[in-house]
């Protein structure tokens, strides 16, 4: 009933009939700059570091594992189920828990550990964003509940900008129930416009770029 009332009011206000087609929409505006792989890596790292994120470029998966090991030495972490993390041996590092597929179990684990380790579906060079689509491989809470987020990102996944992201994923619901762009550490400026990092999400974000 509310549905019909509202739609009727809208149509009356606009002078449109039920089922009437819309006028043609303005064409989408996507602008994707040309950029080499190297320059994308450089731009991504610079953008993320400007937001107080930390970045490292690993020459191999072994180097990536060593970098993660150094970050979580003596601490605990939950790793997502992304195949890349297992392949790099990150899931078998001491203190790392992985292979959790149960929601409640995952939630309890993420609430207790020092770090969450994920891969990334994409990254955006111009803003330093990490893009994660929720799936069996990537749960949402791994990049959200622990105070530190470590993302291991294949270099080829770094896109120029958000326009390129939406050209590759024109309809996000076809891929996942959740697509999130993470652009730096959680922050607030709600008290006196003074910047504080790590409010509800991770206060530290590390991106480790790997070949491939």
């Amino acid at each position: 009933m509310a549905r019909e009332t509202i739609l009727h009011k809208v149509r009356t206000a606009l002078g449109r009939a039920a089922g009437e087609d819309p006028e043609p929409a303005p064409a989408p505006r996507l602008r994707i700059p040309e950029a080499s792989g190297d320059s994308r890596v450089r731009s991504f790292c610079a953008a993320l570091e400007a937001l107080a994120g930390q970045t490292a470029i690993a020459g191999s998966l072994d180097e990536a594992r060593a970098a993660v090991a150094a970050l979580i030495a003596g601490k605990t972490a939950v790793a997502s189920n992304a195949p890349l993390l297992a392949e790099a041996g990150i899931t078998s590092l001491p203190g790392v828990r992985s292979g959790v597929f149960d929601r409640e179990e995952l939630r309890a684990a993420c609430a207790a550990v020092d770090a969450g380790i994920t891969s990334a579906d994409y990254a955006l060079a111009d803003t330093g964003s990490i893009v994660l689509l929720s799936s069996r491989e990537e749960a949402r809470l791994v990049s959200l509940l622990p105070p530190r987020h470590i993302a291991v990102i294949p270099q080829s996944r770094i896109l120029a900008n958000i326009d390129e992201l939406f050209s590759l994923i024109p309809v996000p619901s076809q891929r996942s129930s959740s697509m999130v762009l993470i652009t730096g550490p959680s922050r607030t400026a709600d008290i006196e416009q003074i910047l504080v990092r790590g409010v509800h999400g991770p206060g530290q974000v590390h991106a480790i770029i790997v070949p491939a």
């Binding site: 149509r11 929409a25 996000p172 619901s173 129930s177 959740s178 959680s186």
Partner: protein
Amino acid sequence: MSVLPEKEIHAALTDGRLQSAIYTATGRLIDKRKAVTSAAALPDYQELRTQANLIKRHTIENLDYYLELFERNLTSNGGRLVWCRDGTEVADFILKLAKDRGARLIVKSKSMTTEEIDLNERLERHGLEAVETDLGEYILQLAHERPYHIVAPALHKTRYDVADIFTKKLGVEREEVIEQQTLIARRVLREKFLAADIGISGANFLVADSGSVTLVENEGNARLSTTAPKIHIAVAGIEKLIPRAQDLAVFLKLLGRSATGQPLTVYTSVLSGPRRSDEIDGPDEFYVLLMDNGRTKLLADPEKRQSLYCIRCGACLNICPVYRKIGGHNYPWVYSGPIGAIITPQYHGVMGDPWLPFASSLCGACAEVCPVKIDLPKILLDLRAEVIKAKAREGKNRLEHLTFRLWAWLMRHPKLYEFAGAAGAGMLGGNEGWVDRLPIETGPLKAWLSERQLPAPAPKSFRRLWRERRRSSGA
């Protein structure tokens, strides 16, 4: 009908600490916005604004189509659309759902739409606990105040105010360091997130072709509110629609920059229904409560319906010389600043707050910073005209009405106009360049003259000078 809250405005103007808090915070936001929208930082800024305006116009002009398209796609994502005519229907739906699911605790992320309908109060009256989780909103909920600003709700609170509020309401030891205050909120709210039965969010954009709700935020509280509880409810006005996910590329570039000077906010979530069978976490139930609450009234006016393009970035508040002096609580509704001044009268009727469209210098700064190019000064003028007409209908302001009719008549009769001008100039007198014979203490112009001085009329009128010069040049 409300009247200009003179006392409250005077109190704000004479509160030095408040003035400096507003001025500093809005000043920082202005500077940050400027830095990321400059031609050097974003060469296609003006093109983006134009595109955003075109898309919003197209969507609003064909809104019924996009509402139904969104409904179809949301439904095929496994979500459910609930149409709500007003705040009561929103609250009733949530109360019933909470009852059916045995839910008690609700975490909320920042939403002006739910502020508009006092949702928290409605829910709490029925025994539910609804906790605001955005830091600024949380502080205000504890202080029982409404947002001071669309984007920075606690803009008027200093760290000392926050220390007072936390000590009193949370029973924690007094803490005046902002970092520590933030940690206190994190600790308290973390418990709430993990225990909550329902998460309520607003929506920055509803994407028709994807059936998705898009949320932008910096703290992570919106992500937590929409991920941790088993039920996610997004409450949104019908004007939040955009046709395609690809249009987000335009709007996201503008929103963060205009609001807080960020190319992108820390978190941008595109949420499309409940978690799927192959996904590990996320809510089991996903509702979008699509609310009218007066929006169709705005839609009925072809000129002013552009007010519905607003993406709530708050840039017009920051830049507004009136907002920066009187602050956010002297506006009659939750929406303050220039955008509040144009939408409040349209929701509540122009005679609800007839002073509001006049509380502006019409300097145009708001229109200049608006990312979707709403012509705010034009709408303010239209609303002024509506107030004048309504007052005339009610038989008020007869003198003003007569004066302007006389003026219009004189303007159409040049000879009479010149005569009246000369006579008037003689009557006004002058002393050291200023008019000195007007009744300042009494008479209909009392209020106007108490703040202003009129320059004395020139000894010779323009017409007379013109004639003399033509004569002397022999033309």
